[in-house]
Amino acid sequence: MNESIPAARDPRRELEFLRERVRRLARGRWASDLEDVAMEAWVNLDRALRREVARNLDALMTRVARFAWIDFVRRRRNDPLATPEDLLDDDATTGDRPPPDDVDPDALAMLRFFVLEYFARHGATECADIARHWFAGRNHAEIGRLVGEKRDAIAKRWERCRRRVVDAFRADPPEPLRGLASGFDGGFL
């Protein structure tokens, strides 16, 4: 499978478009962070375009830029050093409901990435498969139906998988999850 960017696409043009959108959303604020936001938006755009062809690329880019911007504003709000400017309400710019302020979507993406990668490192493909189903919002009963096993069998197998990864993360918490690490030390898991 060829994973390179198709020749028909123009990453430079895409990035320039996203920068312009992000700059408009920023309205002159946080200028030094805008490049990060534009880059994050581009990565999300690239991943979206690898999954399906966009019928309206400009509309998709506008949406992706807006989500990246909202995530950025949320991080700023959650920062203990947040300024009054950080607390401005930017969510009114979107009709989609963003994640709640006190839950970190970055931490979720990071944690799931490290979980899957840990299973891949140890060749635990069954564990990774159950995890993917769980991340996609399926419960044990639904996973059981999909793979032709009983719910309890899936639950038991996942419990063994879960213990493996939690033990490893307790011993060596993933660095970007230090904010969540109290969960590893304080019995969250």
């Binding site: 994973e3 960017i5 990453p11 430079r12 990035l15 700059r23 200028a31 030094s32 805008l34 490049e35 990060d36 936001v37 880059m39 994050e40 581009w42 990565v43 999300n44 690239d46 979206a48 690898r50 949406r63 992706v64 989500f67 989609d96 409901r97 994640p99 709640p100 006190d102 839950v103 970190d104 979507p105 931490a107 979720l108 993406a109 990071m110 944690l111 799931r112 990435f113 490290f114 979980v115 899957l116 990668e117 891949a120 490192r121 995890a131 993917r132 769980w134 991340f135 996609a136 639950a155 879960r162 011993a171 060596d172 993933p174 660095e175 970007p176 969540l180 969960g183 969250f188 898991l189």
Partner: protein
Amino acid sequence: MSRADMHAWVRARLVAWASGLLDPEATARIDEHLAGCDACRTDAAVLSATRPGDDALGEHIPAAALARWDRWSVELRGLSRALVRQHLERCDVCRSQLETLGYRAELPVVTALEAAGRDDRAPTVQPRPPLARRLAWVLGAAVALAACVAIVVRLVPPAPRPGEGPVVVQPGPTPPDTTSPPAPGPGETREELLALGPATDDAVAIESVVRGEADSAVTTLRLGDRGAVAVQVPFEIAVLEGNPPVTVELIDQDGRAVRRLDTRLAELAPRDTRRDLRLRAGAPALAPGDYRLVFTVGPPGTRREYRVRIE
């Protein structure tokens, strides 16, 4: 536990719950709370919902991390560093995205940051040698020490007698510093060879995805018949705030600054208009080849480098 406490307890664990990492008892408590709490149930659903290109399923390095790779990757240590390196080795998508953003798609091995697992073995206990062998070692060491003392006594000159004074060692000539730009000579107009001018339609946009050191991110500058080229001020410099001093340098492969412009951000990137950099031929000549265009904005000392090739 009060309802408010339970609410806080659940929200603190929502990310771990959404990743399936809570133990069965905690999972059951959260499921029970979600069944009776509309707000938490909605938030849990939104947290797990995917958005365009979003990678909430964890199949790739999160976009926020790739976008900040230069800072994020240096914080990785231990198991997480090993896992990210392992992912990069087999994931063409993440590698391709990093390279497009201008980074090297690799995570170098840094001993101090790697997992301790390989080196945390208990030290091996060596059996003690027999007494006769230990005595032989002690005697040998004593003889060697005495020989060293004798040699030092013969080689070290005696302390200076009163009146002779200490010997002053003059420092030698300082080697030329090839990393800093040579000072401009009398009448030299190096600044004019890199100057600011009004925006033009044919100004070259610096390869805008450049952030790291990827080989693919090189902007070609053609000096043309008139020996000059207009270059757009990079986006990430133009959007900086305030009016700090800015130094722009064109540095050749030997590390010498062959062009230099000292200005301020408000001059380089005014809010109400766009200005371009003018790079001109002259002395010292700009030989065709690879250079780095370096912007140093300070304080706080932001530094951005862009690879350019002059033809």
